[in-house]
């Protein structure tokens, strides 16, 4: 038998049938649902008189719209309230398990899934959210899908899809001190571009990836979509197994043993061939900061804002000029001289316990700069919040001048009240720096959690390694 990539194995393990033209029908093991992309899918089921194919494959939680303060008084935005209540009603009507807004297990759906052991190695996972790619960190094949496909998976437990090409990104060697998973993935996107992964499933490999914790691996896979790839995956190893073991929905006893033995195969075979291979030297990566309105517009904290006049591609140069204008930045400005107005620590990219620990380590014994309007810490889930409080991280943040909030997507996409005002500049641990993403005319710089905390303390970007 020929050598296979991890993607080959995951694909073949879930293939119900293939058409003559190569279109596959892929069985879906786990389906995560949130309030924004599901109401029209449930409505579609209802109108067609269909029922969910396998209701226990589905798990729901509201995250995008929920307020991060004063939850006891409910949702004040009437439109958001209807959407969250619609999810509650749909889950009751169709018999779907939901971690509702006031359940301690509620949180950002991509934090909740792995935390509960609902995502296991070797699974196929979908959600009506592009950051579903997060779950590839567990050796699962995980895609973001649109609402029509949410309805399709609810009704059939399958997805119609053609196989993607395969890419392996190897991050070789050892990361420098103070350089994190976020810096790895931003550096990769800077290297291959936001469309560099289009048409591919990317497997992340190499010593620096192996050395990451599960939280770090989830950060890397989470932003695979920002490189345009359909999914990101990482082979199963002892770190994966250690993370999954003992979680509420993880198998136990004999089933655990059987699962373990099956998961041993979830890696790329020696000699397997990828359509594209990329190598990145871990030691060359410094803490990253985006300067523009696309995640590929990224440089190291030691660099300066790039100059469009030096870009030879005229379309790209025009895009850079537009980005600099939107961001209110001048070419040649040192990144470390850019002041920030707000700091946001959280999201499905960096809202896990390890992220909060990294930020708290910087915040401990220091104060948020007086020039800042706001510094927010939004845990990824109720359980992350509880864990952080048990470790005293909330006290550290609050004493430093950060606000300690309830879990949700919050300012990552600003669907709730947590938004930038026009012209405000934010150091954010989220995943997208698009125009208007965090609020109309708001300016987003993507960074890792320690870099965000450091920017909050200094009032401008600083190399976290100097602290």
């Amino acid at each position: 038998m020929s050598a296979k990539t991890l993607y080959d194995k995951l694909w073949e393990d879930h293939l119900v049938r293939t058409d003559d033209d190569g279109t596959g029908l892929l069985y879906i093991d786990r389906h995560l649902v949130h309030e924004v992309t599901s109401p029209q899918a449930f409505e579609g089921l209802r109108m067609a008189g269909r029922k969910p194919w396998r209701v226990n494959a589905v798990i729901a939680t509201p995250d995008h719209n929920v307020p991060t303060t004063n939850r006891a008084s409910g949702i004040s935005d009437p439109v958001a309230k209807v959407q969250v209540e619609t999810l509650d009603r749909n889950c009751i009507e169709f018999g779907i398990t939901e971690f509702g807004m006031n359940d301690t297990r509620q949180g950002v759906v991509h934090v909740v899934g792995p935390e509960q052991g609902l995502i296991l190695p070797g699974m196929t996972v979908v959600c009506g959210d592009s950051h579903t790619s997060t779950h590839g960190a567990l050796g699962a094949l995980a895609f973001g899908i649109g609402t029509s496909e949410v309805e399709h998976v609810l009704a059939t437990q399958c997805l119609i899809q053609k196989k993607s090409k395969s890419m392996r990104v190897s991050v070789d060697g050892e990361l420098g001190v103070g350089v994190t998973a976020k810096d790895i993935v931003l550096a990769i996107i800077g290297e291959i571009g936001t469309a560099g992964g289009t048409g591919y499933v990317i497997e992340f490999a190499g010593d620096a990836i192996r050395a990451l914790s599960m939280e770090g691996r989830m950060t890397v896979c989470n932003m695979t979509i920002e490189a345009g790839a359909r999914a990101g995956i990482i082979a199963v190893d002892a770190t994966t197994i250690e993370y999954v073991k003992g979680r509420p929905h993880a198998p136990t006893g004999e089933t655990w043993d059987a699962a373990l033995s099956s998961w041993q195969n979830l890696h790329t075979d020696d000699g397997a061939v990828f359509d594209r291979e990329i190598h990145i030297d871990a030691a060359s990566i410094a803490p990253q900061v985006t300067w523009g309105t696309s995640p590929e517009m990224v440089v190291s904290v030691l660099d300066r804002v790039p100059d469009p006049e030096r870009e030879v591609d005229s379309t790209k140069a025009e895009g850079m000029r537009r980005a600099l204008d939107y961001m209110g930045l001048k070419a040649g400005t040192p990144i470390s001289e850019i002041p920030v107005d707000l700091v946001f620590i959280g999201s499905c990219t960096n809202g896990r316990i390890e992220d909060l620990r990294a930020a708290a380590k910087i915040a401990q014994g220091r104060k948020v700069a007086g020039s800042l309007t706001q510094a927010l810490v939004v845990p990824g889930s109720g359980l992350v919040k509880a864990q952080a409080e048990q470790e005293g991280l909330d006290r550290i943040f609050i004493e430093a001048g950060f606000e300690w909030r309830e879990p949700g997507c919050s300012m990552c996409l600003a669907m709730n009240a947590d938004q930038l005002k026009p012209g405000q500049r934010c150091a954010s641990t989220s995943n997208r720096n698009f125009e208007g993403r965090q609020g109309k005319d708001g300016r987003t710089h993507l960074v890792g959690p320690a870099m965000a905390a450091a920017a909050a303390i200094a009032g401008h970007f600083v190399d976290v390694r100097d602290l």
């Binding site: 119900v16 049938r17 058409d19 033209d21 279109t23 029908l25 069985y27 093991d29 786990r30 924004v36 029209q40 409505e43 194919w53 396998r54 226990n56 995008h64 935005d77 439109v79 958001a80 209807v82 619609t86 070797g122 699974m123 009506g128 959210d129 592009s130 973001g144 899908i145 649109g146 029509s148 496909e149 399709h152 009704a155 059939t156 399958c158 119609i160 053609k162 936001t194 469309a195 289009t198 048409g199 979509i225 345009g228 790839a229 089933t255 655990w256 059987a258 699962a259 099956s262 696309s294 790209k316 895009g319 996409l413 600003a414 669907m415 997208r432 698009f434 125009e435 208007g436 109309k440």
Partner: protein, 211 residues
């Protein structure tokens, strides 16, 4: 779904690459639980000078005169011409819903983001990938005083200009079939219910921890 067979329309040139779905339909409009009514808020932040809110009447809002859809030449456009990596970012199907609701049936670009590309086909929108040179040429034609009109024939996979140019394009055979027939994917997949059940029964044996 409405069948897509042959279609003629005016081309609006949106000369930007990496247009993301946050730009196509900003987040505040995602709070709707309906599939319809997103057209007035398509490209909201670029199209209007004020901040748009859900359920607002857009008729009296100040327009951004520099935005292409506010140019008189393109008022009736139903074909969008744009640059690489169109539809990147969020998976929100509200983006193709907004484009379709506005009246766009065809989008032409050198490349599209994966999830957006899939979502288009589910909503009767045909995304067409053409090489950058052809896209450049179309931008030249679309920018003239007299707007460019194209005829799109899905069956023969060709675009026709009024001047007699013919531009062939590729489309996945299964997706073409679904668009031409206006087929519902779910109905198609449920024809294989027995195979899905059999697969599932087998998986319950090989991977019981999934169930």
């Amino acid at each position: 779904m409405e069948k897509f067979i042959k279609f003629s329309g005016i081309v609006a040139p949106l000369d930007r690459s990496n247009v993301d779905t946050d730009a196509i339909i900003p987040k505040q409009f995602l709070k709707s639980i309906k599939r319809s009514g997103f057209g007035p808020n398509l490209f909201d932040e670029w199209r209007y000078l004020d901040q748009g809110e859900p359920d607002q009447d857009c008729a009296g809002r100040p327009l951004n005169p520099a935005f292409v859809l506010n140019d008189n030449r393109y008022h009736k456009a139903s074909i969008l011409l744009t640059r690489a990596n169109f539809g990147c970012g969020s998976s929100r199907e509200h983006a193709p819903w907004a484009l379709a609701d506005y009246g766009f049936r065809v989008i032409i670009a050198p490349s599209f983001a994966d999830i957006f590309f899939n979502n288009c086909f589910k909503n009767g929108i045909l995304p067409i990938v053409l090489d950058s040179k052809t896209v450049d040429r179309l931008f030249g034609l679309a920018g003239r005083d007299q707007p460019l009109e194209l005829t799109v024939d899905l069956d023969s996979q060709k675009l026709f200009t009024a001047a007699g140019d013919t531009i062939p394009f590729d489309v996945d055979p299964f997706r073409k079939h679904c668009l031409l027939q206006g087929l519902d994917d779910i109905g198609l997949t449920l024809q294989y219910s027995k195979e899905i059940r059999a697969f599932e029964d087998q998986r319950k044996v090989t991977a019981p921890w999934v169930f």
